[in-house]
Symmetry: C2
Subunit: 342 residues, 2 copies
């Protein structure tokens, strides 16, 4: 009875419906008459036929694929946001494909290249940032409807969804200043991510507005191993004993995780209690920031809002045919999380 169905024509015979109608059904089950639909679904139950996606995508102008590209998947921030995004794409009937550039420009270009080959309906792209080949990104975005997130690159992509870096720094600096000494700012000298520069600039401008003396400490190190960089840089700083203030605001949580490890090793007591030597705060709301020692006071990304809005924007972009009247930018403010480190 259950002879194997090899293609849509055979399935059409088996279900007693013509092939074009079957085709319509798979593109939109509600577009066929209820009686046909139930016949098809009855047949579907016995024969478990599914259209060949390669044949389908060859003939469709646009696939149901959505590309998701992040710069560094081993960073739990991206892993977390990708989780949200994937689930929302699936719910909307799309097939997400996930790619990580692993911090390498060549790989990012390769990914965009192979992404073009699968003709996705749209792409959610968190670019490498400073390391990105802007010409390559621009060329890609001309061909594929793309929404940028996390890292903004001016003029590239139809929209950008990210966090308002100013809000992060404003909240952390305000909190730290209100509850103690104003912070110095610890960052990588050559950050991979453009958000880092925005945060430093925000720090400088906010400190100026508050008529406070600002101190930016830029530590060496390149790449995406932020914890290690924060650790090494922290050890050096603490050995030199040249921290200008007793309060340190780290540019991001991963740097702070490394820095806290250095503090611990050097016997520096971190926290807001009176017997502590140093307060450390940071920014991102990294999934592990709860479990540092002490737990990390940080300004957190609104993961849910960002992923939700990024996906919604992409869907809207797809529905309007791949182009938006003008490039939309949406920034979400930080959510302050007060913990033990400051």
């Amino acid at each position: 009875m259950h002879k194997k169905i090899r293609n849509m024509a055979e399935f059409a015979v088996a279900s007693g419906i013509s092939r074009p109608t079957i085709s319509k059904y798979f593109n939109d089950p509600s577009s066929v008459r209820a009686s046909s639909r139930s016949k098809i679904e009855a047949a579907l139950a016995c024969f478990d036929y599914r259209p060949n996606i390669y044949a389908v995508n060859q003939n469709r102008q646009m696939t149901k694929n959505i590309g998701i590209v992040v710069p560094y998947l081993a960073d739990p921030f991206f892993a977390e946001i990708v989780r949200f995004i994937e689930l929302r794409c699936i719910d909307a009937g799309f097939a997400p494909s996930l790619f990580s550039s692993h911090g390498e420009q060549a790989l990012e270009i390769d990914i965009l290249d192979s992404l073009r080959a699968i003709k996705p309906a749209g792409v959610l792209l968190a670019p490498l940032g400073r390391e990105s080949d802007k010409a390559a990104l621009e060329s890609f975005c001309r061909h594929v409807p793309t929404v940028l997130f996390d890292s903004n690159i001016e003029g590239i992509g139809e929209a950008f969804i990210g966090s308002d870096n100013y809000s992060f720094v404003a909240q952390t600096v305000e909190y730290l200043t209100r509850t103690g000494e104003a912070p110095c700012f610890l960052e990588m000298r050559h950050p991979a991510n453009p958000n880092a520069n925005k945060r430093r600039d925000a720090y400088l401008s906010i400190m100026a507005r508050l008529q406070l003396e600002s101190h930016v400490i830029s530590i060496e190190g390149r790449g995406w191993r932020f914890e290690e960089i924060g650790h090494q840089g922290g050890l050096k700083l603490l050995e030199q004993n040249t921290l200008p203030t007793n309060t340190v605001l780290c540019s991001n949580d991963r740097l702070a995780i490394g820095f806290l490890a250095a503090c611990y090793e050097k016997g520096i007591r971190v926290g807001r209690d009176s017997d502590c030597d140093l307060r450390v705060a940071s920014q991102d709301g990294h999934p592990f920031s709860r479990f540092t020692c002490p737990s990390l006071t940080t300004a957190a990304h609104d993961y849910t809002a960002i992923s939700e809005h990024a996906v919604a924007t992409l869907f809207q972009l797809i529905e309007s045919g791949g182009r938006l009247a003008q490039r939309a930018e949406k920034l979400f403010p930080a959510q302050m999380i007060m913990r033990e480190s400051a």
Copy 2:
């Protein structure tokens, strides 16, 4: 001059080579005469034509796709191993597709389902473990050449590559016992991953062999938020003050990260110095274990060996037509990393 090339026939004309030869070239550039090859590559340089992957895959019995499935991508262990695997697949000319089950059975089934639809040459699967639907996995593996890694499920997949849990526990217990008191063993009562059970059993058997009294402490909590579980469980344990030994071996690093945070909060000094209250060691070699406070002594997976061998096994499986004479199992021993926590 640069009229757009729409398909292989047009490209054949443009390059002065017949279409079947072009087709051969793209399947294996070395299979065509050197003179033809250089003509094709010259044309390729001006016209940047690429075969339509949907048309290609429709007609090929087997694609060049490789599926990679992990249970929880937000766990840096998997993120890290995926990085290795992806790069090796790309180097070998395959197109890896990455999926995370996000800890959910339904999603794992969905992924295997859509994976079947893309007709991959092979799949590298790290199953959820206890949460997996074994019947679904078995059915999948009957259709797609699959190599399991990380979590073994007896009889499923053509091969398994993972770590030798016994070696992990043997090394940590040996080290801890040699340098101080024998450890108790801290684990989740309902671990998601079957490795956890193997580690507990190894602990019991090793302690018995050493004629030492064993103490297994099973803490409550389900799911994949191990740090939180370790943290909550740790707080409870330390409040009750009922630890049977001054040395704790955690089943895995993420649990240990949470436990260390609990120790810090409770003012327990962790480390191997004489003024410390507790020694804590663990297992996995988690990327962040270097940055805990104190840094975590742990038995590390041999990431490189595992990913290397998993990929090599899959390639071999693909070359031998999708079936192996018998199910191969390969386990790699741990590499002990001595740090400050024990």
